[in-house]
């Protein structure tokens, strides 16, 4: 690792290899340069397509941001990669699916107050669906934490990681049973209609069933909602962590658990709370992801979950703005790969980024350099 090699070196003369860091750096620079040139070529060749891809990447990135927050907060406090987080996200999207198709929850105000205008009904109804998903996910995550992680708090970290994998498996395959979610892909019914706008000499609403005019950039209300929800979440979380007593307790527990306990902080409660907050955002992310990509199944959460984790590492694990920025970068990387290289390579790019980040700057973009090796 570069920093250990540099810091543990008394003199360059005795370790001649330390002078050869330029080989690796040159290799990475070359990679970056090639990527940059390819992107620049694509931008010049068709700027409209490029912007369209960036918009789809933003949509993906903002959903990843919602999931990544849960990873980064939990890792920041208990140093555990919560594998089951992606499956909590999956449960969130299924809860909203059943709320919409079985219980018509997205139009409940219309049954109670028949005179309400349609717009208000849809807004209140959709918010109710999201809230229900969030509450279910919170209950699930807190249960998981109590049953599977709490007994292992003093065990080696790998034991808890294996447990997390076990919980994740359980949710995936229990969900694949016929009387739960069934193993099939299920078409998702959105709680509201999609409205698409296009941008060409100003914004225009696209009439349904027609193609957008040549050379225009389209985006939908889903994109707007995802961006708004993600940014709002970020603001709420920043307020929660920086301004409230619980947030202070969270930061203290993350910094030093035994000392926090000595100061009278109920660390177990703080950890449960962290899991709950992360799960609430994952639930919201699950609803939005299903709305944006309307086909759900019981293993839906695995890859978005892993990519959100990579995003959290990229931004600096434990850092909330880091998770946000990392998720946006991941979204772009994935969308550009899908657009310009090939769709199947989208997963490969995510993990290549992870490995490069961990090698070049293991603490991520926003992470503080490690104090000492634990």
């Amino acid at each position: 690792m570069p920093q250990t090699a540099a810091s543990a070196t008394p003199s360059l003369a005795r370790r001649p290899g330390a002078r050869m860091a330029w080989i690796g750096q040159g290799f990475l620079l070359l990679l970056a340069l090639v990527t940059f040139l390819i992107l620049a070529r694509d931008l010049i060749r068709d700027p409209r397509l490029f912007v369209q891809i960036v918009i789809s990447g933003l949509q993906l990135g903002f959903v990843y941001a919602l999931i990544a927050l849960g990873y980064t907060m939990v890792y920041g406090i208990v140093k555990l990669i919560n594998f089951a987080h992606g499956d909590v996200f999956m449960v969130g999207s299924f809860v909203s699916f059943y709320a919409v198709t079985r219980f018509q929850l997205h139009v409940w105000p219309a049954f109670v107050f028949p005179t309400l205008p349609r717009g208000v009904v849809v807004v209140i109804g959709s918010l109710t669906v999201m809230l229900l998903s969030m509450i279910t996910c919170v209950a699930l995550a807190v249960t998981i934490e109590r049953v599977a992680y709490k007994p292992l708090r003093d065990a080696p970290r790998i034991a808890a990681l294996i447990t997390a994998i076990g919980v994740s498996f359980f949710l995936e395959f229990f969900g694949a049973l016929n009387f739960v979610f069934s193993p099939r892909f299920i078409p998702y019914q959105r709680p509201f209609e999609v409205v698409t706008w296009y941008f060409k000499d100003g914004f225009h609403a696209l009439i349904e069933g027609t193609a957008p005019p040549e050379g225009s950039i389209t985006f939908s209300n889903i994109f707007v909602i995802i961006v708004a929800a993600s940014v709002l979440t970020q603001v709420v979380l920043q307020f929660l962590v920086r301004r409230t007593k619980m947030g202070k307790a969270m930061r203290a527990s993350s910094f030093d658990k035994p000392t926090a306990r000595l100061m009278g902080i109920n660390v177990d409660q703080v950890i449960s709370f962290t899991f709950a907050v992360g799960a609430a955002f994952a639930g919201l992310g699950g609803v939005l992801y299903a709305i944006a990509y309307p086909s759900i199944w019981s293993q839906l959460g695995i890859l978005p979950g892993l990519k959100a984790f990579v995003a959290a590492v990229l931004g600096g694990i434990g850092s909330i703005p880091g998770a946000f920025v990392g998720a946006l970068i991941m979204g772009q990387a994935e969308a550009l790969t899908m657009g310009y290289i090939s769709t199947p390579m989208r997963d490969a790019v995510a993990f290549t980024i992870l490995i490069i980040v961990l090698l070049v700057r293991p603490t991520g973009i926003f992470g503080e350099p490690e104090k000492e090796k634990a």
């Binding site: 690792m1 040159g26 065990a155």
Partner: protein
């Protein structure tokens, strides 16, 4: 629900017999007398061979289903032993074992598949490539000794350039040599010497070894930078490796230039060359290599890294090199297991190498006890025969949906095990051959009261 009690009893007897057989095999291998050892191993081989071929009524004692389970258990034991070396003995939490298993399976299958088509290029390119790659890694390693303290990334770049160059030479050389060998295959009507069954057997053994070597070299290149990460980051990076390898398998006919692998549709028509002899031979070889490694000074160095990296470093152990060594050898076993697997199943599909299935070796290692070779072997056989065999059949009789319940039961069992008995079912106990040899007290250092078992 029609429940077949007779089948249940027979299955339980078979599982017990197989586990007892493993115990017996390990005991015989560990016997002091060389003659007993040789006779015992042959007997152990013959017992199963008889069970596979002697017929009672209209089917053998071990019918085709059991035979499939047996071969699967052997490959799973090799893969899991490799993972146990990485995770159990060296303490590096790896989820990449399944990716190396897949690499081995596809590499070996490609060699023999092409060979049966009268095309020696698979064997030549891969064989020369693995040899040249090994030479390059060794050569660059010698070169880098002069530059102590070189950042990992720079070393990785040099190794990568070297291996890519070696690969290019292998492709060129293999293509050229293939033209020379082509007449020896003969034609459909008059097959040449290379089309004979004996030649195919030799190619099969070479293919399996080459597959192991290839997996080992890939693991070297991948492990060199990635092993410097912390334990759980390493886990995620190796998980990513498995996912990427699986993606490449699905697109092997479009992204990669291997049309014969047929991408996501699955590779069919691989010659079924794995007999019980080969499966047994490779399993025993892996067990012997693994045991001798663990109880050597290298093995103790590998284990010391798990116990305490700082203390190991203070004792003069090259922590990074030992991590890499364990990772490479573990992947070598996985590659060999993959090669054996490909040639008994005869059909490879990327679904087999999905990362979700890839957690199986990890679960096996955790069940058997990380750091226990006997536990891993017993758990592999128990896992395959009990969960994949018995439970699958029983649940299959109980309804169409019931087989899915297997995958619900695995994680529950895993959770209970981690919570109740985190050291695994066997802990660190070893059977027979795998037990640490007694170290003779040295007389010239002054007498010691009791012999000290090594590796504790």
């Amino acid at each position: 629900m029609d429940f077949n009690a007779g089948f249940l009893i027979i299955s339980v007897v078979k599982i017990t017999a197989v586990l007892a057989w493993i115990y017996g095999l390990l005991w015989v291998l560990g016997h002091a007398s060389r003659a007993v050892k040789a006779v015992g191993v042959v007997c152990a081989f013959a017992v199963i061979q008889l069970a596979l071929s002697v017929r009672i009524g209209d089917s053998a004692i071990f019918n085709d289903f059991d035979q499939g389970l047996l071969f699967q258990a052997c490959t799973m034991a090799m893969v899991s032993l490799g993972l146990n070396l990485i995770y159990g003995f060296n303490g590096q939490f790896s989820l990449g074992q399944w990716g190396f298993y897949g690499i081995g399976a596809y590499a070996a299958a490609d060699v023999t598949y092409r060979w049966t088509d009268g095309d020696a290029r698979g064997l030549l390119v891969l064989g020369i490539g693995v040899m040249l790659g090994g030479l390059t890694i060794w050569g660059v390693g010698q070169l880098l000794r002069r530059y102590a303290g070189m950042p990992v990334l720079s070393a990785f770049t040099l190794y990568l350039i070297g291996c890519v160059a070696a690969g290019a030479i292998a492709v060129w050389l293999g293509g050229a040599l293939n033209g020379l060998l082509a007449p020896l295959f003969g034609t459909k009507g008059a097959p040449g010497p290379l089309s004979s069954a004996a030649a195919l057997q030799v190619v099969f053994v070479l293919a399996v070894l080459i597959a192991g070597g290839f997996a080992a070299e890939v693991s070297f290149l991948f492990g060199l930078p990635v092993l410097t990460l912390g334990s759980d980051y390493f886990g995620i990076a190796t998980l990513g490796f498995t996912i990427v390898i699986n993606t490449l398998m699905v697109n092997s006919d479009t992204i990669l230039p291997f049309p014969e692998m047929k991408g996501g549709r699955g590779m069919i028509g691989i010659p079924k060359l794995t007999t019980w002899f080969w499966a047994f031979l490779f399993l025993v070889l892996v067990i012997i290599v693994m045991r001798n490694l663990i109880h050597s000074s290298t093995g103790r160095a590998i284990t010391s890294v798990r116990e305490d990296e700082t203390a190991a470093k203070a004792m003069g152990i090259d922590v990074a090199a030992n991590k890499l060594l364990a990772f490479v050898i573990g992947s070598f076993f996985a590659g060999i297991g993959g090669g054996v697997y490909a040639h008994f199943i005869g059909f490879l599909s990327p679904g087999t190498f999905d990362f979700l299935v890839g957690f199986n070796p990890l679960i096996i290692v955790v069940f058997g006890g990380p750091g226990s070779m006997s536990g891993t072997i017993a758990a592999s056989f128990g896992w395959i025969f009990f969960l994949e065999g018995l439970l699958r059949v029983i649940l299959g009789q109980m309804g169409t949906e019931a087989p899915t319940w297997r995958f619900v039961l695995y994680p529950i069992a895993l959770l209970l095990l981690i919570l109740v008995r985190p050291q695994g079912l066997l802990g660190r106990a070893e059977w027979g051959f795998l037990r640490a040899p007694e170290v003779q007290p040295r007389t010239h250092d002054g007498p010691r009261a009791t012999p000290v078992p090594a590796g504790k």
